[in-house]
Amino acid sequence: MSVGRGDVDRDAARPEIDVAREAARADDFERVSGPAPMQGLLAVNLVGLRTIMRREIRRVTRIWVQTIVPPAITMTLYFVIFGSLIGRRIGEMDGLPYITYIAPGLIMMAVITNSFSNVVSSFFSAKLQLYLEELLVSPLSTATIVVGYMIGGIFRGLAVGLLVTVVALLFTRISVEHPFITLSVVVLVAAIFSLAGLLNAIFAKTFDDISIVPTFVLTPLTYLGGVFFSISLLAPAWQAAAMVNPILYMVNAFRYGMLGVSDIPIGVAYALILSLLVILFVANMWLLAKGRGIRS
């Protein structure tokens, strides 16, 4: 046994000390001397969170042929067809070459669909194969479980987003006008759609239920969310209709971060993004705590 790595050696020397006893002791402690016992639970939740995160991230990298490659191929095709081939005939949009204009939108589209589908399929398989029970019987808090899955979704969204950015760089030059906005928007949007995926998975009972939302909600909203065009091209009535689409705000905020152009005020976009994030987080917490779709 090596000396000097106190932390490690202590673990090895006391294999009997376990959370159960620790948590139990923390609880006794509470009754005797008031607050401070949360440390035990907090520590448990931090280790738990790291475990869920690591498992989710490993899942993405393990099945990378399913998780990373297909979106990269699809997005490459978008760049080739809409950007290079058709885009040349379109000319400029908002004063930018068309392929440059759509690049942020395509990155955002990849982030949205991949964050969503990562969490929806991972959580739904856990539910269907019953191994979600591992988490449900554990002492981990609902927040830990929600955040763990969310981070898995963000990871996949950003991984694919980064890949699409690299692909975009093969076709056009991209500058980043406002790095902080770019980065914060992409992370927040990935978080939102991870949580939306979780919500979908909680309600889903069959595999059909997890493909309905992407097909009938996500894809249409993304296509109409200003990925390929500026809404100034639309007739006023349609512009108003487009404004109720939250994805429009996200795409425009991201495009503003990269290119400095946006159809909508950036403050409004942030307000909407943050509210959606909070609403979805609370909804997931509430449903999971209640056991909706997971406890009989």
Binding site: D18, A24, G48, E134, R295
Partner: protein
Amino acid sequence: MDALRLEHLRKTYPNGVQALRGIDLVVEEGDFFALLGPNGAGKTTTIGIITSLVNKTAGRVVVFGHDMDRHREAAKACIGVVPQEVNLAMFEKLIDIVINQAGYYGVRPRLARQRAEKYLKALHLWDRRHDIARNLSGGMKRRLMIARALMHEPRLLILDEPTAGVDIEIRRSMWAFMRAINDAGVTIILTTHYLEEAESLCRHVAIIDRGTIVENDRMSRVLRKLQYETFVLSLEQTVEAAPVLDGYTVRLRNEHEIEVEVSREQNVNRLFALLSDQGIGVHSMRNKANRLEELFMRLTERSGSPEDRP
């Protein structure tokens, strides 16, 4: 301290099935406790409520003094569960499954790796640690679930039919393993349909039937309550009808075998004497069922046929 205390536990499923109709149960720390009952009696429902996989309709669950409603995390941290239905991530490696499980209970990676080795070896799965769960046989999956349940070294281990579908050799080694864990101070609650298993392992037994506890006592006392034992006698010659033996109920099984009910007050010597008086020799004798099985059948006997059961 009581490891587990259930008070007036009730469960009505959304479809209207009343699975539990007021269960009261106390399991002492260090006990090896059998929870028995026919299919659909409510064993898994009870375990589901204890492990918070099933929402209770009414009642109270207290684990090592922690009320499940008020100190849920502390209570949950004390429990390890091996479910009746396989709930493994089929595409994950054994080693990852058990190490992740430890993480969900806050066990740090280094300690988790040590325990993974300890428990996977104990359950003869160490050589398969890099296999994915799907490639295991049914019995191996069950053992993996036991190893998984032990990763946080729970004080209370609940096993819902852990030996179902496990071959006799492995079952024996599982028994030895469960005994060893119990000797180390872990309280065990076991459900099983192999009653000889419960009889040989458990110190306390509760029998649950249609959502109510119909028997709950020390195993030895429960067995003493058994008024009759049925023996099957294999005869040395053929008989046409069941011989009439004063004071005993006798049934003919076939021309070589008879069944005799012997009450606790009666003695078997007299039975043999009566038989040899009639010139009937006995070749061999065995219990028709083991004793617990006999009692179980009497306690859970139904008026209807098995198909009528809820």
